[in-house]
Symmetry: C2
Subunit: 179 residues, 2 copies
């Protein structure tokens, strides 16, 4: 799949078939997650891959109503910040670096015909704490986001684009909007 | 360019030729930036596109030593958070949403043969403030990152990958590393 088409054609997929994701495709997705840039090349992230249905269900419940699609997913990947690797002078770059990893995984999956939906965890403390408890995480591992992956259910074909190009969001050479 | 190859083949490019980027390619890059998911579909971002050499130079100096490649870029795009659109219950999702926009633009550019390097601004207050002053930004517009774009100089071909798959970063079903 062409990169430009992949980016513009991606939609959040929330219903999945029961088809599993192969270990090979999972590896491709994880490689993509680790191929993005990161501030000072710190690569301050970790990933938890979950296929166990009971664990997926508990992750979903800990992450709130929007995370329910995880219960029907082939697998979920939690992106975590690894604060032992974070850039000392500005550790909060971990948030950006985790986002890059997650978006790369979503796009790679899309290229493989695998749908996904991004389930936000950070910055919502109650969600972060719920995942911390569920996985008994050390202080240095901070839940960032959970991505639910699976083959799209028939109902998820031809989902409309939400948004697209908005002229008013682009400024040329200087800030022009008054607000 | 295939999406998987695009993701794994992307390298940060810091030296560019003098070849300009067409308006059509710029539009494709900006469309990609606006095609990512965002929390509650808030799309809380704006973009400033800069081609003016003097402005690029001042942006670079305001963003520190790592941002100097901007001086030789065909154009720079600053990604900003638009706090007037941020999700009220958890406004800090703007950081993730801006990151998705930036990474989508970098990948789309790569697909067009255009190189880029991500120049971090947020969370470094002195960089944020310098860009705020330069562009006379309202409080609601928060500098997130600057991406320098241009056609790669000959010296930037075959740059080695920095990192790749790290087995120790992946946990299956539960957190397994002790730290």
């Amino acid at each position: 799949m062409n990169i430009i088409e992949a980016i513009s054609g991606r939609r959040s997929v929330r219903r999945f078939t029961s088809r599993p994701i192969s270990d090979g495709d999972l590896h491709t997705i994880l490689c993509a997650g680790m191929s993005g840039p990161s501030a000072v090349n710190a690569r301050p992230w970790s990933f938890i891959v979950v296929r166990d249905r009971d664990t997926l269900s508990r992750m979903a419940d800990g992450n709130g109503a929007a995370a329910q699609p995880l219960k029907g997913a082939a697998l979920g990947i939690m992106v975590l910040g690894d604060m032992t690797r974070a850039f000392e002078r500005a550790p909060d770059y971990w948030v950006i670096d985790g986002s890059i990893a997650a978006q790369n995984m979503i796009l790679a999956a899309h290229g493989l015909g695998i749908g996904s939906v991004w389930l936000g965890t950070w910055p919502q403390k109650e969600k972060i704490d719920a995942q911390r408890r569920l996985f008994e995480l050390p202080e240095s591992a901070v839940p960032h986001s959970i991505i639910a992956f699976g083959y799209p259910d028939e109902s998820q074909k031809d989902l409309p684009a939400r948004g697209g190009y908005e002229e008013g969001r682009v400024h040329f050479e200087k800030w022009t909007r008054k607000d």
